[in-house]
């Protein structure tokens, strides 16, 4: 097949660490197959070649944090037939969305010598808050096998096989012993979406929630279990306010805990 008949792929970066795009380069065995199946038309992280749109498939990494990026994503949507967001930044706002809970101006005046040069939005927001997204692939970073699966599903015009159930199911399928029950280690697995292969529990660590909330997450119940295991309110707050802290279920739970911790505080003070 000549390149002109292959679907055109573009990879876009917004506020992010680049780790998720690197997952594509990290595909190793599958990378040649990917390169054979699609025409990599725009991927500045990998190649200097920058072909214009329209694109059949756009992979979008990162969150929207500047007025410029808020415009740029609109343009990208217009030239993309299918738009898939990849990673926690693009799907939930990322770690930089911690600013959303405070006053970003107070941060810039503390951090930068000349804050006037900083043109940033008050909030870091996921791509889906700005444009229609066809599929969200979670994770910090994304799982490369899931990325290949999403591309395969796109190429074969089928639904991607990306379950929304808990990390617990992955632990059980891999026959890993539950760290919460057997080790008394606080774990976010029961409220976190699978996809990582239950990596941390496999090394006797609790889940950090890198793949964001699973479907129907009972965050209040897991918070209560953490309390009963001796975790402080501060620890529970920080657990929810991680990489996916601005995803709805984790945000609501962390705000509930924060209100309990500081009932009279103004949340806009850093």
């Amino acid at each position: 097949m000549s390149d002109t008949h292959k679907p055109k792929l573009a990879v876009w970066k917004f506020a992010s660490c680049d780790g998720c795009q690197l997952s594509l380069l990290d595909c190793e065995d599958e990378l040649l197959a990917v390169a054979g199946a699609v025409d990599i038309a725009y991927f500045p992280e990998a190649t200097r070649r920058m072909d214009g749109g329209p694109y059949d498939l756009s992979l979008v990494e990162g969150s929207i944090t500047t007025p410029h990026d808020a415009e740029r994503i609109q343009a990208i949507r217009k030239v993309s037939k299918t738009l898939v967001t990849i990673g926690a930044c693009a799907t939930s706002g990322g770690i930089q969305a911690l600013r959303n809970f405070r006053d970003v101006k107070a941060f810039t005046s503390l951090v930068y010598a000349h804050p006037a040069y900083i043109d940033t939005l008050a909030q870091s927001t996921p791509i889906a808050e700005h444009v229609k997204v066809d599929f969200e692939l979670r994770g910090c970073p994304i799982n490369k096998a899931q990325l290949v699966e999403v591309i395969s599903a796109f190429l074969n015009q089928r639904k991607p096989l990306v379950p929304h159930h808990s990390v617990c199911v992955e632990c059980k399928l891999k026959e890993q012993v539950c760290v919460m029950v057997a080790h008394q280690t606080p774990c976010l697995g029961p409220v976190t979406q699978a996809g990582c292969g239950a990596l941390c529990p496999g090394f006797a660590r609790g889940c950090y929630g890198c793949f964001g909330p699973k479907e129907s997450p009972n965050t209040s119940s897991i918070a209560q279990q953490w309390r009963e295991m001796g975790a402080s309110e501060q620890q529970i707050l920080q657990a929810f306010r991680g990489i996916n802290g601005y995803s709805e279920a984790f945000r609501v739970e962390s705000e509930r805990i924060e209100k309990r911790l500081h009932p009279s505080d103004d949340p806009k003070t850093p």
Binding site: E30, A33, V34, G36, A37, V148, E149, I151, S152, A153, L155, N156, R158, L161, P163, H164, H165, S166, C168, V169, K172, L173, K174, E175, Q176, V177, C178, M180, V181, A182, H183, Q184, C187, G189, P190, V191, A204, K214, E215, S216, N218, S220, S221, I222, Q224, Q225
Partner: protein, 368 residues
Amino acid sequence: MPYRLDASSLQTLFENLKARGYDLLGPQRKDQAIVYDTLESVEDLPQGWTDEQEAGHYKLKRRDDDAYFGYVVGPRSWKRVFLPPRKRLWTATQKDGQLSLEEEPLPSQPIALIGVRSCEIHAIAIQDRVLLEGPHPDPYYAAMRAQSFIVAVNCTQSAATCFCTSMDTGPGATFGFDLAMTEIMEPEHIFVLEAGSPKGRELLADMDLENATDLQQAHAKAGIEQARQQIKRELPQDGLKDLLYQSFEHTHWDDIASRCLSCANCTMVCPTCFCTEMEDVTDLTGDHAERWQRWDSCFHESFTHVHGGSVRQSTRSRYRQWLTHKLASWLDQFGTTGCVGCGRCITWCPAGIDLTAEVKAFRDSERK
């Protein structure tokens, strides 16, 4: 007539099974739990260890003796052998416009299950009913069952989460085994052995064992009785089906749903839960496709996904489905309850939800 096997000769039983071509599966310590996995020798057994269990809690502890089977049940059940967590069913390949399908070959390696508890034998019997005796038997399950040799171990102690006495499933094994052993520490550390099948009798005949004395048999019986006496949890069966059917709109389901994580751990560890999902995958070229079967759970939104969305959107409706199916509609569907009283769903629930307590709450509210 029961036989005696010295604890120091347990390896000879293993050797006899291996000589007959069996791979051994049995208990061992791993990641601070006792799990079933491939056994090489008695050295792998969790000798001198026991498990302490409560709702949402599991802890290994040293015993003050050298019992090999002095624990109760762990997070894995034998269903992993007959109904593996994931298995490929077939692969399809497209080449030069020709489509070929290749079915996954059936397993051919005989296996001996070492240390199967009475409740687990009942669980296997329930899965037989579901996966073998229906209109569409599972060929993998059938092949593994036909090649399995079951060495039961009668319980001589119970965990705080056990309630086999309510379900009439233990603590001593009464059927469904090739060999049954009771480990006793007094008057000496031995196993009192009994055959339950021609295969078991043949093996015992080859081992040329002495008969167990009356005293040894009495100790074995007393051990099983001790396990029975230790059981504190209960799940009374009288009127249970009607109680659950009548509680369909009960507000207590909301109370459970406030704690339930819908994480599916209970269904994964349950030795009778049999639901599976089909996963179809293709490679990038689309020339290669595979169908996989993996454990699924009624706690997943996708479990009841039909055109237009999921039938059971709320955790309330999912927990209600699970409990009502397990303890009530299972009877209508399969002529048996779906629960064997092993207590795994209680222990391995990260939120410590105890089905015996939840059923009691329904009963108590009915009495009011």
